[in-house]
Symmetry: D2
Subunit: 362 residues, 4 copies
């Protein structure tokens, strides 16, 4: 059965809007963007804080292949629900730029990830902190403490380095990888999800990609294509207040900062369709960047914008956020974590069967 | 057939979460809150700007029955998509208070509505502008120009006055009334929608109500309970870039300003389930207020908050926003407007039949 | 004596930083920018609300000479103290554009000003509200109620039209003109003030101009060049809670929206040097726009910015805000208003003498 | 001479408004607030990145003496100039609470400081990350790289711990201590500065305190009491783009989150009077908290506020920010740092003499 269900949401017959996807249906379809994962899975049984079990990781997203610190990208952030401890957003908000790898990890490891990110910038920019200014690193986090020894802070600075150094294009692993290793959604196992859209307009052909670390909600919240599966499936009694959802949006279209900010607001629209109501303690943190100055240096940002140009991008963000979330759920596998706590895989076959019987597959 | 379909979404078998509704399933279930509508429908045929046809109106929401200017309420605003011309939000954002009737009307009539709102405050507060400070009036707007002679600015200051003066509790008319007269959603006729939720917690029993003027989207966007009806129904070729969606949230719970702001962010989550992707020019503007200081003067605002207390309110906003939107659509009737342009009623029977056949009714 | 003192701050020997001014030392030094004032002064004696005396007006600023609605400008707003009832800022914040004349008037006349602004756009754009979208008008306000029959709302829509229609370049009248007619600052008469700066950098030579309607503070707050004159001069016992300060920044430099927003934050820095502490009810509302797309269509916005480029603009805003405020005070004349209430002219000779004796003139 | 000048600004005859100070004229005058400094000064001569010389430190501010994580305080942040890498502000903005020690250190040490802050919370709250949620730590930073081997990141997690553990009330060391060790302002040596104000109103007697780490500006920017000393003193040719200014505001008054946010906006007003124009890369980051729920548990937050109550607090922030900045400059001593670069002490005697001769001392 696993072969059947370890496939992506779209391949199961679910549809997510009318825009075409890129080649890999991944954030790496955006020219220049690469992704690196480091997954840390060690030990079993009783939680001994500081020792394990370890069920965590870190994910890096690089906007392009050049020197990110000197070749900065227009960017925007939006914390739809700012309950979270992500780092580096004030600077992005003020200047409208992304100047470093974007890192995602577990909540208590943000300091190590930051240290590792600084290591990486210092190494590649000998003048930083001496003749040049200091760097801003964006670190996003979700809480994987249901499965992971979070207090152990097992993600170290070298893991951040490794995630950055091994980032690559092409197909992106999803589910229990990188920052997604220990994450849960609606009390099922989730992790990393990604997808992409192609947008053609009078200015050219552009790609928009989304990478998400999904980690939200109570069992009862789950909705797929309008079906409230969360109320049909068994209640999960385990404490599930271990939340936050991170969405990174990449594009090579020549968008301005206000436009990128508008995109960064919209992932919760797609997530709402999977049941994310952005509960009190469930952060929804979003970032969007465009690498056009380095990929399409001739492209001019659209200062006076309009619906014809922007609507497809807005549609793409909503649709892709829904799809990336379901990819995250469908690609993740059951995991046993601290104190033998179990996050089961979402019952994909049961869901697909129900949707088919309800005329919801195409 | 009309008798069958002119019923509210919930009565057709649709469900919107697990929280119970108030008596009228309307914003007026919140103790003290009243609503007034003035509907302006005149003339037929060719658009003669300044003359008609007229298909518009104005809606007033009063937070409580006292002197609103002297008995101010904690409040918050959030423009999820700030494409719009609403008035008075800066002051609410700065001070965290609502001090006047809330008015909703068509885009080009905001000046008259503001004049009327000022009239009303001046009349009831002889010292304003002399010994007392000037008032802040919140005016929200949507564009009803597909059906209405918007340039004619037919809503006059006396209509604002009238809407305020006739505001009452109990059942709230929905559909083609007040500010909703000329509005459209996904190229079907929409208008005003409302509903409410009851929340019990350790501090007491509280009501949260939503009133929405729905006016968003292209035909293709429509989704109901996960079914993309918008792509199944005929394409509407008419220009539909006449948008904006206003949501007012009322409660009598002792919420602080940061908490109210968090609520004000969440209506787009419910609207997304009906297909609102918050397009480029489709404003989504939200306001939330609490009248507890005047309804429950002993209640203490929750300074140190938590999930147990707040989650039900957040759930209520998502669920109620979805329901209010469908009430707005289901309660509206086909309307012929300027140049005999027609907004058809959404095909309720067809939708309900399809949902029933797809196991989507309870 | 009047001949001596009715001169601008700089001509009296005060200095405001090291950047050179433009030809007129006015916002109109920015190529393309024009300003129009309509001043309304009628009647004397006892306040009869609705009749007078009238001491008010309206000021219009046009970003360039073309069709503002179709030739939109990058823009940003920032309400440092959002206590105020200004209109149209949400849209500017969302889209980063200014698309219409900027109007400034008294608090209770914002509705008429808005109506007049809409009139003007509708007249010059026959498709607006029919085939085209509706316009966003920015209306800023201060409270002139100490001298003016504010409740009378004597600024009418035709005055807004007239201010726009008569806007011109060159020298800009200051003091008791336009929106400044009835304004007070630290319980002295103030009004409109303006000035400009020239900035040369590797990309070219640019102009930044400021126009301010000053209306803030208690007598005790006044500081000029570090001297706390407010505590040296007689206390003013009259109620002075009639505040708000509006600053419009114009430039022809190719600045991006985040950059313009950073400029829009900084007028309070200059105002603080004149004693503005942004009291509870003293709004400080700021807007910045760049008309470069229409004045220098080849200029490319500076996406990756730096200190060398931006610092002079930031310095210019601080310095020019201080200067414009003192121009506003020094150019205004004593005025008798409602109920024979008097706002005296600031004692310029006494101030200049003191400053000279304190080594504070250059 | 040093004995003469190593005194605080107020004692030299400078005045900063009319409100009285607390006993120590320090942030610790606010009941319950404590401050701890760890200063790191080691080595001389040539910069060897990673080894030294070391000229840095860390400062901790504790809102009250109880368990901060479980006894949270209302709080607000405001990045007037968000150019900076401070941590933890999103959460404060979203929830309006401060739940941990506030730490200030150098830019590249924020990761260690964060790690140390997490250590401290985990140690005192065994359930955090297991049965309880994860903590939000606020870390503020300035760049001390002109004197310090910033790349060496010499502040370690144990220094954060130590600063927290040794925090105490009473007199607060200023100048070259804690986070202030390596900081510069207008190319003179600066560091930590603090002061306080007492505010009496109908609700009681309250204290407001400010602690600032000053680190801004070019030599030419310096203004004291209106005298542009920066243009009178020798130009400093050394690169001075090593900026950011941090201001923490504490009070025991029962202020709401919107009110605290309004206070957090105002330190730049006081700083402007010392010449801070908030240059492109000079962050101005502010935080305000109230510990009233734990110090005055009966006090009710002022939901409907007014000028009488709030104006003195706003005045206090402006005045105290100016004073704390000058305390920071006047209390700091000349320091030799990396590569024997020197930051000279500001010439206090010369300044005071000039001010005396200009009638600027009281």
């Amino acid at each position: 059965m696993e072969e059947v269900v370890r496939i992506r949401a779209r391949e199961l017959g679910l549809d997510f809007g009318t825009l075409p996807t890129g080649k890999y249906n991944a954030i790496t379809d955006v020219p220049g963007v690469t992704v690196g994962h480091v997954s840390l899975i060690q030990g079993h049984g009783r939680l001994i804080p500081g020792q394990g079990p370890v069920r965590t990781g870190i994910t890096a997203i690089l906007p392009h292949g050049g020197n990110l610190y000197t070749q900065k990208c227009p960017a925007a952030v939006f914390p739809f629900n700012g309950y979270g401890k992500s780092i580096g957003m004030m600077y992005v908000e003020e200047l409208g730029i992304c100047e470093n790898p974007i890192l995602i990890t577990n909540t208590l490891s943000i300091a190590s990830a930051l240290e590792g990110g600084i290591d990486w910038v210092l190494r590649h920019n000998p003048g930083v902190g001496i003749s040049e200014r200091t760097p801003n690193i964006t670190i996003f986090e979700c809480d994987d403490g249901y499965l992971n020894d979070t207090r152990g802070r097992h993600v170290k600075r070298e893991h951040a380095w490794q995630a950055i150094a091994t980032a690559s294009g092409g197909s992106v692993p999803e589910g229990n990888v990188g920052a997604g290793v220990g994450m849960s959604t609606v009390a099922y196992k989730s992790g990393v999800g990604t997808c992409s859209r192609i947008i053609k307009n009078s200015l050219g052909t552009w790609t928009l990609g989304v990478l998400m670390v999904c980690n939200f909600g109570e069992r009862e919240d789950l909705i797929i294509k309008g079906i409230p599966f969360g109320r049909m499936f068994p209640v999960n009694e385990a404490p599930t207040h271990r939340n936050s959802n991170i969405t990174i949006i990449a594009t090579d279209a020549p968008l301005t900062c206000p436009q990128l900010k508008r995109l960064a607001k919209r992932p919760p629209l797609g997530l709402s369709r999977v049941g994310n109501i952005c509960r009190w303690g469930c952060g929804n943190i979003e970032m969007a960047f465009s690498n056009y100055p380095w990929i399409h240096p001739q492209a001019k940002p659209l200062i006076i914008d309009n619906a014809e140009f922007l609507d497809p991008f807005m549609m793409a963000v909503s649709d892709a956020s829904e799809e990336a979330c379901l990819n995250s759920l469908f690609q993740a596998e059951t995991m046993v974590g601290v104190n033998n706590q179990v996050r089961e895989k979402i019952p994909v076959v049961q869901i697909i069967t129900y949707l088919k019987n309800s005329n919801r597959l195409w």
